[in-house]
Subunit: 163 residues, 3 copies
């Protein structure tokens, strides 16, 4: 007899592992650990930070390279995530993939502070998670932005109704 | 034999459903989906955003109407919730109701930005959740505010000791 | 037969209790409930808010005294925590201790606002949690800071690579 006949416990465990993945992204970005960030993604991941920040990054090796070059341009960052909403695929064998939307409030300081003001971003990560042999990984990530302050490049919108 | 003799698993599942409800409120508010927000509340809900914002809203139909008129007055919003604290009622048959306190950091941009500065709110939702036939719903919500920037209307205080 | 042969459910319950502890800290700090904050810590706790704020506090009685004197110096605060990352000790008998890193975005208003501008802190609590007879408690807490605005005292850094 199974102790979890409906898979409820397994789904809670999977959810926690995905949440931990989302947190690990933030923490390693803020520490400028490019290799540790890249290891959270599938080998063939696609990461799109928005039209103002160039073409989407394809593959975790390219992502590591991009982050290793890009993150040191800040003097400091802090990525605060919340509102983590995870929807598992419904399959007969249980979930091996999930979609997620996570709210992000990110603070950025530049090396020439205070000449360049701190940049603030209020956005959302739209993610696809997959279970691999090594655990859950981020397969695709797209950043959508509700608004910014002192960070005025072109972003993907969150899809707000115009009223 | 039950796989969850003490109801611990069921309470974790209930908690996740309530957390998802709190997240769905934020996301649909930020998308200006007034009908989707109203559907998260009981038919006879009471929602009180504070004394500076008029009488409490009574019923989900009135809430939808209010949000459909009010939300488009912003150009953009982002509602970041965290510190979600849920206390289930203790009953012999398991929990069908719960109280919650959720921290809110909300960012608002106005159509005439930057003439009108962005408004920031650091507050708390004080909620009553009930289990209905259709799932968990918000029965009552009161917004309490620790502080604001450029959003100076009368709010309910959080109840800080004066020292 | 156990309904939780691998201890997965128990660990999720433990995790929720620790998360509730982290939230209770914030809520009681913001309410200036010094005794309620101190009760979340072990009797022999060590709390270190950073080199610019004096020697580490030793013991919950000293912590209560410090908070009772220090918190009223603000007119209002709001401590928003997220990215709560908990790692349980691995032991044969199940977890009785855990390490945690929690992101903090804290907003502070001073009594002479707006003469003194609001202070913002983007930081991390680095915690050690232990299970006591009365439940989970915080045994050690160190605040590390990614950045601040209008709050320029000496903090412990988060350990960012210099690039």
């Amino acid at each position: 007899m199974s102790a979890d006949p409906n898979g409820l416990l397994q789904q809670l465990v999977d959810r926690q592992q995905i949440v931990d993945l989302v947190h690990a992204y933030c923490r390693n970005v803020d520490l400028v650990n490019a290799a540790e960030v890249a290891a959270l993604f599938t080998d063939d991941c696609v990461v799109d930070y928005g039209p103002g920040l160039g073409e989407p990054t394809r593959g975790s090796a390219q992502l590591e390279d991009r982050l290793a070059r890009g993150l040191p341009r800040f003097a400091a960052t802090s990525h605060h995530v919340s509102n983590i909403d995870i929807t598992f695929d419904t399959t007969p064998d249980g979930p091996d993939a999930a979609d997620g939307v996570t709210y992000l409030y990110a603070w950025h300081r530049f090396p020439d502070h205070p000449a360049t003001p701190d940049a603030h971003l209020w956005g959302q990560y739209h993610d696809r998670f997959v279970r691999t042999a090594a655990g859950w990984r981020i397969a695709t990530r797209t950043l959508r932005v509700a608004g910014q302050e002192a960070f005025d490049v072109a972003w993907y919108p969150i899809g707000r109704r115009s009223g």
